[in-house]
Amino acid sequence: MGEFLHIDALGPTGPYRSRNRRPLTSLSGAPIGEISQVPSLYVRRTVAAMRAAPVVPGAQRLDALDRAAELFATASLGGLGWDEYTELVSTASGVPNAVVRQSADWIADVLRSQRHTVELAMPRGAVGDWRDARTRDGSAVWTRRGEVFAVHAAGNTPAVHGLWPEALALGYKVLVRPSAREPYTAFRLVEALRQAGFPPATLTLLPTDHDVADVIIAEADYTIVYGGQDVVDKYGAIPTVLTQGPGRSKILVTADVDWREKIDIIVDSISHLGGTACTCASAVLVEGDPEPLARALAERLGRIPSLPADHPDAILTVAPTASVVEVDQYLHKVAGDARPLLGGDTIVDELPSGGAVLRPAVHLVDSSRAPQLGVELPFPCVWVGPWQPADGIAPLRDSLVLTAMTIRAELIDALLDEPSITNLYLGDNPTTWLRPGIPHDGYLGEVLMRTKGMIRTAAGSSAA
C-alpha cells in the first residue's frame, strides 16, 4: 500500500476529483489516501444525465454482469489486482482478509447469477420483454417503476454490495454512494461493471458527505440505505427508501431438538464473517435451561484467536482502538443485569500492529422479553435466554433471519405468518446461509418492478 490512494467520483462523463476531499485512513489512523466529496450540484447533474441515458437492453445487461463477475474476481482494476484489493480492504477497514475474500467471492456469484435471480423474482404471469409471444394472447409484462436506483453503502463487509446488482439486471441505472471507511469494494465493482459494458451514465460512483447523501435520496427514484436504527428511524417512513438496518437475526431451539448436536451451526451463525453481517445471530432462545448452551458458546467463541485483519486465519474484525473502546463501553451499558459468560470484562484486545480486535461476548438473560435480545452489535455478540411455548412468537419478532431448530409444524406456520420475520430457516441451517437467487430481504424486484397488462396484435411487430 505504498501509493497514495485517490477514490474519485465515477461520473457520467468520467472520473471527477472534487476539491472537497476527506482523508482515507488505515486502522492506526495513518492517512493512506483521499476520497472526493461531490457537491449536490454534481449529484443532480449526474442523476439528470443518468435519466437521459438509454437503458442497456436486457440480454446485454446479463452478458455484462457475467463478464463483470470475471473482471471483479480476476482483473486489475483501478491499479489493484485481486490480492491487492482484498489486502487493502482488510488493512484499511479491519475486516479479516478471509472475510473480505469470502464476501467478494459472494459478490462475483451474485453477478453471475442475475440471469437466474431475475427469472425467480418475476411473477409467473409476466414476461420480461413485451416482444415475448405470450403478449399476443395477453399477459403481464414486468416493467420498472422508476429509472434510477441509489445505494448508500456500508463498510462493514464487502457483502453489502451483493444486493444492488439485481437492480442493474432489472434495467435500473444505479448510483452508488460508497462507504467512507471502505469505498474500495464499491469502486472495484463499478469499475468492473463499466469495463464489462455498462456505459458510465448507467452506473456511477458518487462519494458524498452526509447532507449531500440526502440529495441523492431526493433525486433517485429508489434508494437502499444501510445503517443503524437511526437510519431506519430517519428514512423508514419514506416509501422510496429501502432501509437495511439492524438485522437482529435469531436462533430458536425447542425442546424436541438437542442443541449439543447443533453447536457448530449456532457458533457459525454468530461468528460467520466476523459477526459483521446483519444475518449473524445476535440472540439465541432455548426452550429449557439456556445456561449450558450459553456456556458452550462462550467456550467455543472464546477460543477464536486475536489476529491482525490481514492474517490468513483472522476471523474477528479489527477497528481503531478508540472505537472498540466505545463499543465496549456501550456493551457494558446495554448489558445491564445480563450475566456475562464471555467478554464481560472487556472485548478490547489491542494489537501490536495497530487497532484492536473486537473479542466475542456471550451474555445470559433471564427472560425471553429481555430488551438485550434486540441489541445487535458489529462483532460476535450474542444474548442467550429462555423461551417457552407460552411466550409465543413475540420474542422472535423483528428478525431478518430466524433459524428455528424445531420440528413443531404449527410453530413453523406461525413464524412464517409473522410479517416482521423476513427469512425463516429450519433445522441445520445457520442464519448466515445465503445463496444467489434466494431473497435476502425480499427480492429487489418486489419493490422496483410492477406488472402491466398487455395484449397486442402481431402485425408489424418484430418476431419474438
Binding site: G228, G245, E326, E376
Partner: protein, 363 residues
C-alpha cells in the same frame, strides 16, 4: 458634529487613516448629541470607557457582541441622533434570517444602502441596460431591495417572485429535507415563466435556487441565451459547485457572489482575481465593514491561510455593530493593503461527516 472622515467616500477621495476613523467613529456613537439611544444606554453597562479605550481596530474587540439585543430593541433606538438631512433618510428596516430564535432588526439608511450596493459595481461596469430577475427573499430581508436598486442602475425593471425562507425552514423542521421540494419547485416554476417571456439580463438568486434552475435543461438554455450576469448571495457556494456552474452549466456568463449579512447591513464583493487555489476571495468594504476570522475555541485571529469562524463588524456613522460572530467558517485571506481585518475565502458551514458514534447495528 460628524467628522468628515466618517462621510462615505466619493470617487477620488484619499483613503482614510484607520486610527483616525476608529476614533471619530467611537466619538460619534458615544457622544450624547450624536450616538443612538441604544449605544448611549448600553455604554453604561460596559466595563470600559469606549472613547478613552477604543482607539484602533484591534481595540474594537473590547466590545461585546450585542446583536442578540437587536431582537427586542425598538428600531428608533438604533438611529444615531447625529444623523440629519440626506443622511437620515431610511431605506427600510431589515431583519436577519431568524433561523435561530426571533429575527434581529436593523435600520438601513438610504445613503449607506447606495454605497453598499455600489461596492461590487465594478462587476457590472460594462453591462449596460438590463432587466433584473430576483429569485430571492424580499419582505423583511435586504436582498430584495438591493435587487430593485440594481435594476434601477441599469435602467431596467426588477422581476421578482415571492419567497419566504422562514416558511421553508419550518417545513424542513416538520417534515424533513424533502419537504421544501414542492415549495422550491413552485418558486422555480414562477422564475421559469419570467425567463421564458421577459428579457432578463441580470439574474440574482441564491446558490440552492440556482442549483435547482440548473436541473432544468429548458431553463439552462434560456439563461445561457439571455442572461449576461448572475449574482448569487444569501447562502454558500462551495468551490466545487462554483467550478461546475462556471465550466459546465453557465459557461461564459459572469458568476459573482456577494457574501454578507443583514447584521452588517451589507456585503463583501468577489475579488476579480481568484486566489492561487482557484477559490473566490471576498473583500468587505473596509473600514465600513470589516471581517476577522478567529479560532472558535480561543477567539484569537487565525493566520492568513488558516480556517476559522467569521466575525463581522459594521463600522459607520449609520450603525455600530462590532464583533458579530457568524456561524460560518472560512479561510482568512490577506486583505488589500491598509484594510482592517482580513478578506475571506471558501466560506461555508462547519463540515459534517457521518462518522458519529452510532454503535448499534452492524453497519
Amino acid at each position: 458634529m460628524s467628522s468628515p472622515v466618517l462621510d462615505l467616500p466619493r470617487v477620488g477621495d484619499p483613503a482614510v487613516d484607520p486610527d483616525e476613523y476608529v476614533a471619530a467613529l467611537i466619538h460619534w456613537h458615544f457622544t450624547a448629541s450624536t450616538g443612538s439611544p441604544f449605544w448611549l444606554r448600553r455604554a453604561r453597562s460596559l466595563d470600559f470607557d469606549p472613547i478613552a479605550d477604543v482607539r484602533t481596530f484591534a481595540d474594537l474587540r473590547l466590545f461585546p457582541n450585542v446583536v442578540d439585543e437587536f431582537r427586542d430593541v425598538p428600531v428608533e433606538d438604533l438611529i444615531p441622533r447625529g444623523l440629519a438631512g440626506e443622511d437620515r433618510v431610511i431605506a427600510g428596516v431589515y431583519e436577519s434570517g431568524g433561523t435561530t430564535g426571533a429575527p434581529k432588526r436593523f435600520v438601513m439608511f438610504d445613503r449607506w444602502m447606495e454605497f453598499a450596493l455600489g461596492w461590487d459595481e465594478i462587476h457590472y461596469a460594462d453591462l449596460g441596460p438590463a432587466n433584473v430577475l430576483a429569485v430571492a427573499p424580499s419582505g423583511p430581508h435586504m436582498f430584495g431591495e438591493f435587487a430593485a436598486r440594481r435594476a434601477r442602475r441599469h435602467d431596467g425593471v426588477r422581476f421578482t417572485v415571492d419567497l419566504d425562507p422562514r416558511w421553508i425552514r419550518r417545513l424542513i423542521e416538520r417534515d424533513g429535507p424533502g419537504a421544501a421540494d414542492l415549495y422550491a419547485e413552485h418558486i422555480i416554476d414562477q422564475a421559469a415563466h419570467i425567463l421564458a417571456t421577459q428579457a432578463v439580463g441580470i439574474l440574482i438568486t441564491t446558490p440552492p435556487l440556482l442549483e435547482r434552475m440548473a436541473r432544468r435543461d429548458d431553463l439552462v438554455e434560456l439563461i445561457r441565451k439571455n442572461v449576461r450576469f448572475i449574482c448569487w448571495s444569501g447562502a454558500h457556494m462551495d468551490a466545487d459547485s462554483r467550478e461546475i456552474f462556471q465550466a459546465e452549466v453557465f459557461p461564459g456568463i459572469p458568476l459573482k457572489g456577494l457574501y454578507g449579512s443583514t447584521t452588517i447591513l451589507g456585503m463583501s464583493r468577489e475579488r476579480a482575481q481568484e486566489a492561487d487555489s482557484g477559490l473566490a476571495v471576498f473583500d468587505p468594504p473596509s473600514p465600513y465593514i470589516a471581517f476577522r476570522v478567529v479560532d472558535p475555541t480561543t477567539g484569537d485571529d487565525v493566520a492568513f491561510g488558516d480556517r476559522g469562524q467569521v466575525v463581522m463588524n459594521h463600522l459607520t456613522k449609520y450603525a455600530l455593530i462590532p464583533n458579530n460572530l457568524e456561524r460560518d467558517h472560512a479561510l482568512a485571506v490577506e486583505p488589500p493593503p491598509g484594510w482592517f481585518g482580513c478578506s475571506v475565502a471558501d466560506v461555508g458551514p462547519v463540515a459534517t461527516f457521518d462518522d458519529h458514534a452510532v454503535i448499534e447495528g452492524v453497519y
